[in-house]
Symmetry: C2
Subunit: 246 residues, 2 copies
């Protein structure tokens, strides 16, 4: 499928708006994704209002796409709607637990990816913001999410105003295992990461960060142990507050 094969993240958009009719059509098709027991454990929050984009931007580390994209979509794991239905039918819902959170989050991510595929095939550009889980608590407040609803993924969408180079990917032999997981030897790792490490832009990152190599750019600057541990703590607390953990 050409649109998937040629896919790249789009961070700059033209001023052209996305009509509600198109957006709803794409979402409706996206909702065809597989879903646990056909429970559809997700909700999508559509942000078009500039003031609200300004409000959520800091939770996405003020990445400029949040305020410049015509539409920001927050895909949320949602057991609230389902539980409300259960209670209204005199059924006793038991979905305030960790498994249910992961089931809802899975449903949500399948729909998110389906939406991106459909949007891109329709000529739109998307950017997946990896920041959503980092600031889940702030987004819950800004988007007024009730208990049993947790934001999982945020996508900015608009008509592309750039065509960046496609990022490299690891060779597939490094990602696929036949029958059982094949432990990686030292030479396997060297081979799998060789092309990535040799890319001019990755060498540039090493230079500007003054690290010994690319791996240290990740561990020492981009995704540090201290930040990951702190955010993990906050995230578990958020899941507790939203009712998904004891």
């Amino acid at each position: 499928m050409e649109s998937i094969k040629n896919r790249r993240t789009i961070r700059k958009y033209t001023s052209q708006d996305i009509p509600d009719s198109l957006l709803n059509e794409l979402l409706e098709e996206a909702f065809r994704a597989p879903t646990m027991g056909n429970m559809q454990l997700y909700s999508v929050i559509v942000t078009r209002d500039s003031a609200r984009k300004e409000r959520i931007a800091p939770f996405h580390f003020n990445q400029p796409m949040v305020t410049s994209a015509p539409v920001v979509l927050t895909f949320c794991a949602d057991f609230n709607r389902f539980c409300q239905w259960c209670r209204q039918r005199n059924a006793n819902p038991g979905y305030d637990n960790f498994l249910s959170f992961l089931n809802a989050a899975s449903d949500t991510l399948l729909v998110t990816q389906n939406f991106c595929t459909l949007a891109e095939a329709a000529g739109l550009g998307t950017c997946y913001l990896g920041t959503t889980l980092y600031s889940a608590g702030g987004l819950i407040e800004a988007l007024e999410l009730p208990k049993l609803v947790v934001p999982i993924a945020t996508i900015t969408v608009g008509y592309p105003d750039e065509c960046p180079a496609q990022p490299e990917r690891l060779p597939i032999e490094g990602l696929i295992h036949q029958e059982t997981y094949r432990a990686y030897g030292e030479q396997d790792i060297d081979r799998i990461y060789a092309e990535k490490e040799a890319m001019p832009e990755n060498r540039h990152f090493v230079e500007v960060n003054r690290t010994e190599n690319l791996a240290q750019v990740f561990t020492d600057y981009r995704y540090t142990k201290a930040a990951n541990e702190e955010i993990s703590k906050v995230l578990l607390e958020t899941l507790r507050q939203q009712g998904f953990l004891d």
Copy 2:
């Protein structure tokens, strides 16, 4: 996109095999999905061997697709490969925590959905098994997954030998919120679930289970509080064993 719009889960497959070349091509394209910091935090285990299918079938509640499909794919969250690269480069990886698990699981699910889209567009049928997280520990053993690797999603794939009716979906107005989450009133819930509750096959489930209504089929039979709580406990313990929780 017609293949997404007309999508249905396929559980019966012809005896036609899927060549490795096609499978690898589809996976390579699927790996174009967005990934956190381009870290590609996933691995795919390909199961073709009958004996191994028999071995993992019980972890999927012996659903017949596992042994009858030519290919079973287990998509795993994988921080093992990345951490091994870091250690080999004298970088100190800090990815043995809950946030990193969710980041890797997100990467994994985006690739899983991308694969399903591509496979279906190529004329294959897929079934997403919602059982993977239920039996993660057993699958870890059977597929020999090391620490920092957790199975997230399993897909059976083959050439379709059935064309079942497309399952219903909730009306999109029940799933989309403008700007902020709109609390559901009692009448909203009745309206959103009306079509689902009226479907003959859903009425049939109510009848055979002798419940008052469809919601009780979910809470009392399909996804019970007791089972969810028990599995949540085991799953958290599995994450701990795999090194993603303190």
